[in-house]
Amino acid sequence: MSNSSVTHVQMSSAGQTERTAVHLMPCEIEHNGPAQVSQYFTAAMKDRKHEKTVSFRGRGLRGQELSCPQGYTGLVLKEVNKPGSDQEDRTVRVSSVFDKLTYWNMETPPNSDDTIVMAMSWPELAEAIHGPVDD
């Protein structure tokens, strides 16, 4: 992407876009594409006292749900057609939306020191740093 290229976000479908369950996994899966998430993962998930457990590839995971910060929405953007040259403008569309995500730790119980929980505090602080200053 050259510095002059702009990536447009197609929002038109946002209203009707389906809500999707999103899971942040504690491993890198070398795959992009379809997966039987509901059959293998969601179906085997257990929810007890605010802590979720499941396993993936024989490893025990412990998870927690996180809400998007107030005034924020989760989006999944998907590139429509990759342009041939990096000079051209690009377009991504909103393929799904979410207002909460589930993140999974490997074995460790989810807690407020988890980096993703800490990262969720960024938008609130950003508003303070970048909000208009009084005269």
Partner: protein, 305 residues
């Protein structure tokens, strides 16, 4: 059992998980869709990704990125485990470097002739951010001639503006559970929730550090002076490096060059009139040098010429 697994490059990445400010993506009230653009990052002076929201405001993009993550999104896997945050950014931070550059000539200029960048053509759109024009007086003096507005960078105004930013940030930090106390941080470091040790200076320095993510290194130092925070006088801050140094037999060298800011930017072209901020700055810098001299060998000063 654990076999060695090679990482193959992720070449087919065409999807991103994002958490975006509703205002940036609200197309109900606005016609134009949001767009990602590249602009000159005022802190690094190189390209960073921003978003022009559908509300014609500027947003920045930051990625939560840690090794060993992937997403399940509905019935799909996305290998790229990043989470992108789209949060508002004050467009003045990005206009500031252009204004400062043209301010060296000391003339009032038309803004559209100041905010120009061959490398980043999208920068002209900074001026269409509704907030930009309304808040320019925070960083520039304004003159209106024949219905046209002209601007000239003002260090004094900028310093006051940045100070207010720092104060706002301090207030927000105090309300948050962000740990602002100094200390060595690592992945395994367990933070203490009750940050009772944190004093006013810790908050101020932390907020200054955050604001410094959006301004040049020089401006960051000047702001430190304006906040009357001496450089490297906090014992907590100097302790780890100085302790480490004492352990080594090698001759000590200056960790930072305190003379450079003065010599490079002010001494070379001494301003006719020093602004209040610069006066404070000059004063602070000297004490800084004194502090440093007591810490390190005097050899440093000559070495850095």
């Amino acid at each position: 059992m654990a076999t060695k697994k090679k990482h193959t490059p992720n070449t087919q990445n065409d999807s991103w998980v994002v958490i975006a400010a509703d205002s940036a993506i609200d197309t109900q009230k606005h016609d134009s869709g949001p767009a990602f653009v590249k602009l000159r990052n005022p802190s690094t002076d190189s390209a960073s990704l921003y978003m022009l929201g559908s509300d014609v405001q500027l947003y920045e993009v930051k990625a939560f990125k840690e090794d060993f993550h992937s997403w399940f999104i509905g019935q799909t896997v996305q290998r790229d485990g990043r989470l992108l945050y789209i949060t508002p950014v004050d467009p003045l931070f990005l206009i500031l470097p252009y204004l400062m550059k043209s301010g060296k000539e000391g003339k009032f200029q038309r803004l559209d002739q100041v905010v120009m960048d061959e490398e980043f053509p999208a920068c002209s759109r900074l001026l269409s951010c509704t907030r930009s024009l309304a808040s320019l007086h925070h960083i520039a003096e304004e003159k209106e001639v024949g219905g046209q507005k002209f601007h000239r960078y003002s260090q004094e105004r900028t310093m006051d503006w940045l100070k207010k930013k720092v104060e706002r940030t301090v207030t927000a930090l105090k309300k948050s559970n962000v740990s602002v106390g100094e200390g060595v941080k690592s992945a395994t470091y367990v933070r203490v929730k009750q940050d009772s040790d944190a004093n006013e200076e810790d908050y101020l320095r932390y907020a200054h550090g955050l604001i410094s993510e959006y301004i040049s290194g020089d401006l960051s130092k000047a702001l430190l002076g304006h906040l009357q925070l001496p450089e490297l006088t906090s014992p907590k801050e100097t302790e780890p490096p100085s302790k480490k140094r004492k352990l080594s037999d090698k001759p000590v060298e200056a960790g930072e060059d305190y003379t450079k800011f003065n010599s490079a930017d002010f001494a070379r072209k001494p301003p006719k009139k020093m602004t209040a901020a610069q006066k404070t700055l000059a004063k602070v810098d000297k004490t800084g040098m004194k502090t440093m001299a007591s810490f390190f060998s005097p050899k440093v000063k000559t070495e850095n010429k």
